[in-house]
Point group: C2
């Protein structure tokens, strides 16, 4: 999916919600517990209940690889089931030497119809470049992540500039790709960074985890980082997927997604007027 | 496999060779090209031809994920075929927020009998910690990788210490784990760093890629980083796997592995005498 289509979908649906399909067999609601096809069936019902409220789905590969080849099959079926009208992010946090990263890119972009892959920048330019060579496909580069460990290296300041490593990642990422094929991950648990991120990368989409269970605040993120072209995908996983652990899990997921979409509509209208 | 067993195997076999099973369907030798079970059959014959010459095997997940669930099945069969007498490194370069990294660790250490997983440090302590909680299992943390992109961030100097990021990763890694459950990746394409690495981490095992096709030199690495407890696993992939593209591929792989093992025996003897 290209940038213009993504932006159009966001304004049509009045939503920049990305639902993380981080499906754990042990957390399946009661009716699906222990069923042979439980994970895919859960995903199918979550997707059916939320299609009109979100623009993106983001399955995290760890949750599928945890069940080996069988899990990979569920991942592939889920991707196929989502279809081409949503932006699909394989949350894989991959990155390897150039010829190896190319294989990851082919796996997600050629074999499977993913639109984007999350990529760790630690190995530098040649580890990210192969994800940027496919028309309409995206690399989503980790800049500053939502977890406590983001303090260990991402926030370390570099000599010469005095700026933290994550700023350097954004500066470099801007040279590797364009706002049409590269996004950055910026965790909502770092509310103080969004103004600075927008100063460096005014046009790039940001994929923002950390709202909900992890404690980030949607309004703060929007106030500093939402643009007239939206420029945000806000990702929510557990608070939608596990809104209820009973028979009504899909309705409960829809209600939570709806609540978030309505907030997003409000922020989008504000930015449309002022932008 | 625990540290003592790994060291004992290295001295018994007079080898610290790790063979990277980076098997590309398009590079299979003529007799296996296009065969349904070509990848697994290739791995099986490479393993049979090299078992006594190496102490570790390292399949890189990208080469298996490139074929989706079917590739995962080949990965799993390969791991099972290797068995428990070799140190098995899943070269996956994983790393995610804590609860998600835990799933990766379970996938490789509980579902599958891998001994180690390569881990990207960018997301910090909680992304690595889950790999360190399994008895006899290891995290192999990327410090300074063998590819050109290692210059982009890994070699950037940090304020306060003035040392490059990779040194900080090693310093932190030493606090996260011990020489019994944590190794570092240090690419042989950076010959100048090994003395410094050993000054910071005298006891930790180093996993060293970059010998062979990528141009690193075994003797230089050994001179600066081999210890009386060995402390090295040197990884070679393409120059062994694709030593011949004909019927004799397994014999050719063995000959190349043998050549490396004999060099390693020489260096081990030197370090045993002087150490």
């Amino acid at each position: 999916m290209d940038r213009q289509t993504l932006i159009a979908e966001i304004f049509r649906k009045q939503s920049f919600l990305c639902i993380g399909l981080d499906t754990e067999p042990s957390r399946l609601p009661q009716p699906l517990q222990g069923q042979v096809d439980g994970v895919f069936e859960f995903n199918r019902r979550i997707i059916d209940a939320t299609r009109d409220l979100c623009v993106a789905y983001k399955p995290n590969l760890a949750f599928y690889e945890a069940r080996g080849a069988e899990g990979w099959r569920d991942f592939e079926r889920t991707i196929q089931y989502i279809g081409s009208e949503h932006f699909i992010i394989a949350d894989a946090k991959r990155g390897d030497i150039g010829n190896t990263s190319r294989l990851y890119a082919e796996a997600f972009f050629l074999r499977l119809p993913c639109d984007a892959v999350t990529v760790s920048p630690y190995m530098g330019a040649d580890s990210v470049a192969p994800f940027l060579t496919f028309e309409g496909k995206w690399a989503v580069v980790l800049a500053i992540t939502s977890n406590p460990g983001s303090a260990d290296f991402q926030e370390r300041r570099l000599v010469l500039t005095g700026a933290p490593l994550w700023e350097r990642v954004i500066e470099q990422g801007k040279q590797w790709g364009t706002p049409d094929n590269l996004m950055f991950v910026v965790g909502a648990t770092h509310p103080h960074v969004f103004t600075r991120v927008r100063a460096i990368a005014p046009e790039h989409f940001l994929l923002v985890p950390g709202i909900g269970t992890q404690g980030g605040d949607l309004e703060t993120v929007c106030r500093h980082a939402l643009t007239p072209q939206a420029g945000l995908l806000v990702s929510v996983s557990r608070s939608v997927l596990y809104a209820s652990s009973n028979e009504d899990f899909a309705e409960a997921a829809r209600a939570e997604a709806k609540r978030l979409q309505e907030q997003m509509a409000h922020f989008l209208q504000a930015v449309t007027v002022t932008g």
